[in-house]
Symmetry: C2
Subunit: 147 residues, 2 copies
DNA sequence: CTCGGACCTGAAGCGAACTTCAACTCAAGG
DNA sequence: CCTTGAGTTGAAGTTCGCTTCAGGTCCGAG
């Protein structure tokens, strides 16, 4: 017990992520594993933290691809320090703030806008939030949760 | 101009939703259209509101299937009143509140938890939120560790 | 009446994030 | 040594929310 490395089943149980998902993450380069002579994965305990970071980032609304980019920015060679992780999470924090802000606006406008008489949807603050519309050309494009 | 019904192109332009998406919504029973003799769709102007409701609901994080259920609860037969819409949106508002609350918690814990020394992920408030979290998108489910 | 752009349908494709399957191999307890 | 459960692979399947495509039809301005 409490050995140096974890099997995929152990990592799965400790992280709450299915083995199939862990293999998938590995294919995407989100996590890494050493191999035994018999080709089985053995995970360093630090991978637990990577998995946690992945899952938390997903809750923030970040795609696995972006998460990979973020993880790639961790120092190669040495085990990341708490400060390394904190730096990573600060970037996410900004996204989170923005997301919370938008949802708050949505909430504030919800009753009024849905209930109101306006059919002029393109002008509606709710339907056409000023921030998420920047690009996308002419007409009212509704750009969604991604940003 | 300003005619009684809208073609799919007009509804698309006014709502900012692609014609293909509108046809898709119709297949799912989210919106409805009358047909001309030549089988082309003609939308009542009230459909604009349904489309708006769909898009707004998506931002709240509700699936199209749940949105359909909600729309089905609108009074059949008569055109929904502002009050009908307001009732509908109040339910969403609760979800929104919950979602904002969870994201706020995520934010509050983010630096501390990711940066901290705990590897005891299953106990981490962040990783293992006590509440069930609405999934962000397809497949992006948070599978909680067994308590 | 003609022309071209808007519209129709069903089927297929897409991308994200996985899961499932089949057919194996590995590893640890008895 | 043998059994059994855990692990391996690549390929294919799944769900969601659409978009794209092919092969046609409609309709309104000229």
């Amino acid at each position: 017990m409490h050995e140096a490395t974890l099997t995929i089943g152990q990592l799965a149980e400790r992280s709450g992520v299915a083995p199939s998902a862990l293999r998938y993450y590995e294919r995407l380069g989100l996590i890494h594993a050493a191999r035994t002579g018999g080709n089985q994965r053995r995970y360093a305990r630090t991978e637990l933290r990577r998995v946690a970071f992945v899952r938390i980032s997903q809750q923030v609304g970040v795609s696995l691809d972006e998460i990979r980019e973020a993880l790639d920015s961790l120092p190669a060679g040495r085990t990341p320090t708490p400060d390394d992780w904190a730096a990573l999470s600060r970037a996410w924090r900004d996204r989170l703030d923005e997301r919370i802000r938008l949802l708050g606006k949505l909430r504030d406008d919800l009753d009024g806008c849905i209930g109101c008489g306006c059919l002029s949807l393109q002008r509606c603050t709710l339907y056409n939030p000023d921030d998420s519309l920047a690009a996308e050309g002419p007409g009212a494009r509704l750009v969604l949760p991604r940003d």
